[in-house]
Amino acid sequence: MANRVLAGNRASGGYGLYVSRPGNNVLDCANDKLMFNTNSGESGTSFFSAGHFQAVPSAGGTGGTAPTIFSSTVVAAGSTASPSYRNFASNKLMLWGAPITGFTVSSGAVAAFFTYSSIGTTSVTLSNTSNASITVKNLSFNLLDTSALF
């Protein structure tokens, strides 16, 4: 059975917490065979990850209150709304929404869509450019970085 978890000094990476994928020896496997690595600042062939993919709760998630992961927002045709979320990632957020009910483009229009803008630490502007009211299920993810590329 392979060593899977290392809390200590890894030959490649130094001190930290490491977890390898099943069947791989955490002590000396290639970086790609690790599923968790606390090391940071790597580059080139040593690069492991930019962070962990994580959802930002729309509510709760503090103290003894369980997090609520998504919210649903009704947006009237041609209007805006302001769904909110917890300040867990400042404005480093990727807002992902899905229309719960489909909406149809109007005659003569070429596109109908909804979009997020003015991303703040606790809320965002959700705009509906279609000719019908829609209900959008909002999910927020920690984008980790706001650089053009990271």
Binding site: V19, M94, L144
Partner: protein, 166 residues
């Protein structure tokens, strides 16, 4: 307070590192209640990402920052952009109509992303051999305010095998 962290032998999963969600006992909770589960082959590590004001009909290399190595497979990419919705256009003569249920289509390789349009007017001159089904973004479908994250999870034909998951 529930046990939240286990470094050891879990009854379901075996030896490894496990972290449960708040209120769930890491020793015996359902796997869906685990935040981290070392018994799984792949987890949600973000390898690269970005926030681009716009991306034209060109490829964007997502490995350039830090000169990251190619993962060796086409990864799962989660993305959002302004145009999340559908598209409907009728040709000038009214004889053809193009409808697409979503605009935010991107094409991925192991190192790049590129905006694409899904579908094309199927007139009498349509050339099935000329790759017109998935083509460059049509006017009115430009990709703006693109945010994306590249996950270390293979998601493409030929890559979803033991070779890439173990």
């Amino acid at each position: 307070m529930a046990n939240r962290v286990l470094m050891g032998n879990r009854s379901t999963g075996g030896y490894g590192l496990y972290v449960s969600k708040s209120g769930s006992n890491v020793l015996n909770c359902d796997r869906k209640e685990l935040l981290f589960d070392a018994s799984q082959s792949r987890a949600g590590e973000v390898y690269a990402g970005g926030s681009l004001n716009s991306l034209g009909n060109t490829t964007q290399n997502f490995l350039s920052t830090g000169s990251k190595s190619n993962l060796g497979y086409i990864p799962l990419v989660i993305s959002t952009e302004d145009r999340r919705g559908e598209y409907d256009e009728t040709s000038g003569s009214g004889e053809e109509q193009l409808y697409s249920s979503r605009i935010d289509v991107l094409e991925f390789t192991s190192s790049t992303i590129q905006p694409k349009s899904l579908g094309f007017f199927a007139g009498q001159d349509f050339d099935f051999s000329d790759d017109q089904i998935i083509d460059t973004r049509l006017s009115g479908q430009s990709c703006t305010n693109l945010k994306f994250m590249v996950l270390k999870i293979p998601l493409a034909y030929g890559y979803m095998t033991n070779t890439y998951f173990t």
